[in-house]
Structure formats: C-alpha cells, structure tokens
Symmetry: C2
Subunit: 484 residues, 2 copies
Amino acid sequence: MGLNHVYLTEAFLGRKSNSPSIEKLSFTQFPNVGLMTTYAADSYITDSASAITAMAAGRKTNDGVINMDPALKFKYKSVAEEARDLGYKVGVLTSVSIDHATPAGMYAHQPSRNNYYAIALELFESNFDYFGGGGFLQPQGKDGKQKDVYEIAKEKGYKIVDKIEDFLKLRKGDNKIVAINPILDSSKALPYAINRLRGANVGLSLADFTKKAIELLDNPNGFFIMVEGGKIDWAAHANDAGSVIYDVLDFNEAIKVALEFYKKRPFETVIIVTADHETGGLSIGYAGTRYEVYLDVLSRQKISYDEFTKVVNEYKSKVKREEAKLSDLLPQIKEYYGLEILSSEVRKELENRAKAGDKEAKIRLQLALNESEIEELEKAFKISMMDPKERPNDAKTYLLYGGYDPLTMTVTRILNQKAGISWTSYSHTGAPVPVYAIGTGSYIFNGYYDNTDLYKKLMSLIGKDPYKDNVLSSAEVRELVFSK
Amino acid sequence: MGLNHVYLTEAFLGRKSNSPSIEKLSFTQFPNVGLMTTYAADSYITDSASAITAMAAGRKTNDGVINMDPALKFKYKSVAEEARDLGYKVGVLTSVSIDHATPAGMYAHQPSRNNYYAIALELFESNFDYFGGGGFLQPQGKDGKQKDVYEIAKEKGYKIVDKIEDFLKLRKGDNKIVAINPILDSSKALPYAINRLRGANVGLSLADFTKKAIELLDNPNGFFIMVEGGKIDWAAHANDAGSVIYDVLDFNEAIKVALEFYKKRPFETVIIVTADHETGGLSIGYAGTRYEVYLDVLSRQKISYDEFTKVVNEYKSKVKREEAKLSDLLPQIKEYYGLEILSSEVRKELENRAKAGDKEAKIRLQLALNESEIEELEKAFKISMMDPKERPNDAKTYLLYGGYDPLTMTVTRILNQKAGISWTSYSHTGAPVPVYAIGTGSYIFNGYYDNTDLYKKLMSLIGKDPYKDNVLSSAEVRELVFSK
C-alpha cells in the first residue's frame, strides 16, 4: 500500500465534488506521519518476507526469507513473540492466507516463505491467542500426505473456527483461536471487497475479524495485534486500481474499529498503519491522458480481475475454440467495467447531452472503446482462448499481461488508462512507504527512516530494549519444523 | 521532485556498497517530514502555476494561473511579497528561466503563466533584492517589439549581471540584482548538471547562486529565499532518470549551502524543502526487470536528453536522408549511454569475467542491446531522420516519444528500463510530495496536509496571520501589466 494507493482511494472518495478534492481516510488523519525505506539485503525491491523480517525483527534479509539471516544460520525473535513473552495477548489478522509471508513474520522462522506447512506448524507452536482471516495453503503439506493442520490444531490446544455461527459465538475468554473466513478464494484468501458491488457474498471482513480480536484480546496486561490488508498488494500486482481502492477501503474499516478502541483508551493505545512495500508502480497520471484524470470511470467497475477471469474461462469452457468471438463477452465487459462500443447515433446523443452538462453522458463517452482499444482486446482475447501451453511465452507478452489472463488484463488496463491511472510493474517497487501513527508515544513515527527502525520503535513501545540482540538461542527456540 | 526522485538519487549514491543501501541527501536528514497533496482547482494533476499559487498564496486555482483565482477576478499577495512588506530582504532563485511559473509565483499575478513579458515587468516592480539563475524568455515581448528588459531593469533601478566576473564581484550591500547564468540552454535555463560528466561548461550552479544570495541578503531584519531546482522537473518530463539524479544532486548542493548558514544561526533559520508536484510517474521497478534493479548502468550516462538530441540533429544535418543509418550513431550511443551491441565473442568473454565476479563485465552485459531493443532504435531513428512535419502524429507515437526526439527517447527509455526504472507519463502526476524541514518552528511541517496549508505555515513563520485575506486591494496593487 504505497502512497499513491492511499491517495488514489482518497481522491476516488473526493471525486464527487465539483472541483478536485480528497476525502481523507481514518488513518491519514493520524497526527504523525513518517516515510520508511524498504530495500532488502539482496535487492532495492523487497518482497513481503524480507520486509516483514525487517519490520518485525529489525534485520535486513534476502527476499523470500522469514526471520532468518541471509545465510540462513540464525533465527530472529519477532516483536510479536517479544510481546507474548512480556504477557501481552497477541493477535495476527490478514485478508490473505494466515500462513502468508506477512502474518508468518509474526510467528515463523523459515528459509523460504513457501514452506507453508512448516509455517503452519510454527503457528500452532506460537501460543498466540487469536489468528483471523484467510486459511491454510497446504493443510496436509506440499505432498498432501502430512498430518492435517486441523488435527495438529487440536493437539496444540487451538480451535479452528471456520463457520460463521461459531465465529459469532466467540466471546472474551476464548483463547487460542484460528478464525477462518467461511468464504475464501482459490488462494485461501478473503475475496476482493469490490465484488460486494455486484452482490457477491464475501463473508466476514477484515473489520469483523478486527472487532472480534479486540473483544477477545483486551485484558489488563495489554495486547498486540497485527492486521494485514494483504489483498491491496495482490490487486496492485494485477494493476487493478478498482480492486485496490475497495480493499484499501476495507482495510480502512478495520482501522476504524481500532480507532473506536483508541478513543476509549487514548493513553494506553498506539495504532500504526504502514505498508511493507509499494506494489505496481502506481501513478495517478498516464501519458495518454496527460494532465486529465477521470476517476468517475473507475466507479463503473464491479468485479475484481480474478473473478472476471472466471467469467472468461467459463465462456472458454462452453464455446468451441473456432467459434469463440470477443463480441460474445462484450456484454459482460460492459456490465462489469462500463466499457462499451458506441454506435455513432448513441455517441452523437451522448455528446449532445454531455455538452448540456450531463455528467453520466460524459462518463459513458470516456468509457467508449476506440478502435485501437478494440484491437488490443481482440489480440488479448485470442490468447485467452488458447490453451495455456500454447500461449506465447516471450518478454513482450509478459509486459502486456504479466502472467495473468490476457483479456482480463487488457480490460483492466484500458479502464485504468481511461481514468488517467498507470502502472510500471507487476511486481513490487522500491518506493519508500508512508507510516501513519496515533496514540501514546506515536510521535516517534515521524521522520524518514528504514523499515528496520520500525522494529526498534515497536520494541520501545512494548517496553523492550530495542537494541537487545534478538537471535533466538537454542534454549529459547521451540522445535522449529522445516518444510517437508 | 517526487518521493521517488529523491529516493532514486539516494539509492544511486548508495549503490556502491555490496548490498543495497542508500546514502541520504542533506535534506532527507532534516528532523521533520510531511506529505503534501498537490491537486489544482481544475485537475487532480497540478501544473507549476496552480501549484505555486497554492503554496505561495494559499489558494487553489486552475492550471496555468499565477496568483489569481480561477475566474481571474482577484490577485493574491504571495508570502514573498508579505515578507518584503515586513522588512525581510527577498531572493528568488531557479535553475530555469527567472520568469518561469515557480519563480513568477513569488512576484507575479497573471491569468497565464505564458505571459512571460508581463511577468518580467512584474519582476522589476517587485522591489525584491536578488534574483538568480536563468534568463528571460521574451526579453522584448512575444512580438519582439516591446521595450527590452535590460532597459526596463535600468529604469527600475535593477542591475542585470550576466557575466561571471561581474557575478563574482557582487558584495553585501549590492541590491536589486538579477544574476543570470552566463551559460544558458535554449529555454534560458541552466544546463543540466549531468553534462559536467562529459566536461561541458555549465557555468554557475544553483549552489553558487544560493551562496551569493545569502551573502547579499543576510541582514538584521532577516531574509526570505526561494530556490527552485526546476530542471529536475524538466528531466522527469523527458523520463530521463540520469539527468534527474544529477539535478537532484545539484539542488542538494544548494541546500547544503543553506545548511551551512543554518548551522551558524540555528535559532533564527528555517529551511523547508519540498516540490510543487511529482513528474513522470517515476518508479524504481519495471515490469521487464521485476524484482531486479541495476542502478550501476545509470552511471554510464554522461549526457542529458536535450544535448543528445543535438547530437542526433547534427548528424541529420550532415547526412543525406537516404544514406542515414543508425549504425553511424551507435558510437555516440555507446559513448554517452554505455549501450552497445556485443559481438558473440565479446559477450562470451564478458560472461566468463562476470562469472568470476568482475563487476564491470556484469554492467556491460546488462547494457548490451538485444534484438528487440535494436528494432526499437531503428524505428525511432527513422522518425528522427524525418522532417518534423512528416512525422507521424498519432496517439501511439506520442505514447512512445512524448513529443521529444524519438531516437533520444528510445535510448533513454532502454537505459532506464535496463536499470529497472520506469515511468507512466510525460506530464506531472497527482502524487502527494514529501516536505522536509529543519530549524525554528519547523515541527509544523510534520503530518499530512494540502499545498495551501504550506502557505499558512510559511505565513506563521514570517510572523503574519495565516488566515488574513491576501486579496490585493486596488491601493496595494502596483500597476500590473498584462501580456501584450
């Protein structure tokens, strides 16, 4: 969640005024603002594993590594583990899978973020009080032959709650809970929030999990909660601005829940909102639209890229390859993105209405597909209809579609560019990220610092020496299980 | 100068270590850091005129307008004029022409930033003490028939100093000076700093003008100086990362001069470093290089885009169109950018050396032109060799070259992308910009605020009511001359 992801959301909310303005989010109104560098030990562009190691354990490591040094010799104790050992109750929440790099950075120590099963085993060793959000990626290991995490949970005294009625029954005093959204996508993550716009049931929200976390964890010794809006990053990987906006808004709702608690206990609470890195190289500003921005067109998007890809694949599965034609999907492209081909009569009528000041007519004209865009869609459609094995695999194709469904990416790019929004990458970028903080001692988050400094600041807030060595000694280390 | 322009420069300086690190600039070490929104009254993407109006006069206006309201009915008094009327000495410095939008925002009030002659007339009415940097764009008006600014200067008691020996003779007590760099580019701006790398004489630097400003303006009543590193923006418009870096470094040198003064008078000085907007949608991160960044390749660039365009045009003027071939320019492309076509023998040798850890060999391999890049260069070269009138004028061509010389833009883009750097626009973008501040009262620049708030903060620092109406009454307004 880079600076522009936050700002785009604020501008999107503010777009309804007659002149450009922004509507601030809950956390951008926090009194303290910092800027944080994010580079890893082996690249100016960090991944989520090295980033969370820096923020949670104060050490630069290589991309892919969680709470270990680049040579994979030492394991580091995270600030969440320090908090646990000081008597705080600890919660870890995310909109992606609970074994993903960022939540794992709270409790795991692994040479590779992809050791999902080993990470899950560490989760159940953590003694943390509450986990919430997505599910497990390899519940029976990479080979599907290991002991199921549900069984392990039971052995370790954890309760996995994956039904909505059980979640609602959770009460203060319930402990060692792993609450999993009953509705998950294929990556065991919460569905994108934008899909609510078309009436999709996305289950519990990050705000729901956060509210429950505070209810369960509030106690006289204090609590430490990490809440990740992880799907903001995923949407940005796919360069899908609409999905970014609605997941930032969902994250904002979770922060609002935290703020309600803050208002009740302002002198005992600190809330820090930041990101592990920027994703996508997002800018409000595209060469083709120069100084113009049309955020209204984004309001027509009602689906996330992954769900639209399902629409494309469903069509593909139903039609004979030689009979497949783009025009069959144009109704869905209009329905979900507002993009359409205008007949010259309709165009004329809209132009007249637009001249008379009709805002809706202006938006529809801005959303009209031109010839070169239709060409791009046709080209992408052809590749989407191919078997994945047949698809071109060269550098130019990657630049266009980034490994995602070509038609989906083209629709998304056209919509973004019509809004005046553009991206430089399907990966993370090196941009420093903003830090917003409120509460007791939160002034220390002002200024310009490194992500390893965030650890020191967090340590000082939980009352631990920030310069204390946090290499786990063999006595301290529980039996850490490496991936099988 | 967006966040990424600053950070790219810091990463470029830090690249020499064995693992990624940054070397902080003078101003990024300031204790106070803020984030500032920049949108204009008529667009989420501001231009320099509306931006300086917001920062210097606290009002949102339309792009193109300087210190007037969007309806062009009122004129606003700038913070520099307020400072002057409070008895501060005032200096206005820039690396672009002294009548350009940002410096003009200190002393002019015009419906259009393009009224260069009218702006110059207002300059000589300002009674400011010292102007320094670039020259005048229309010294005899748009039609070349107006009274020369040199004559007007004399009448108004100003001395134009455009010889280096006269500049060096300037001493405390000299007043009403307009110091112009003896070496200017075709836009009356200081040449790009990067050209020093190939031994070009670029005359005085922004640091020289700043040093002189402090020498001339320091007095018991205080002084107010605005220093603009304006060519950072111009280089970013052309998506030329190398030129951005060296002009950020030159700007940094000017700030260092200010810091020397600050260190002598820490309790009487405030230094605020910010930008009017981001330009180019710069990211350290490009789809084609994913998580890799190769800043070393940028160190091979020794020329700015405008100077390389001169090389292209000189070649064009000397060769018959039908005999022009890209290979004639490959030696210069290698000399100025390090990009070259490697024979298979040389490539093999370099690969062996690279395997053995030879850093130079790695850089040369990264700089090697591949087939698709050579294709892009050939295509651009053909257009560069056309008469400007014959060149394609469609949207796709604009996306590729942004109205600049096609070959130059292609060389620059290839180099940037090989470094892992990418851009989204040839215009400004909507990104909030960082604010860095040091000195008495500078804590007020912490936080997240609008560019109109910057005016209020500046006013409070010079000791004026920030909420006072600053519409110029007819009695206050000197005879303001609109463009002829």
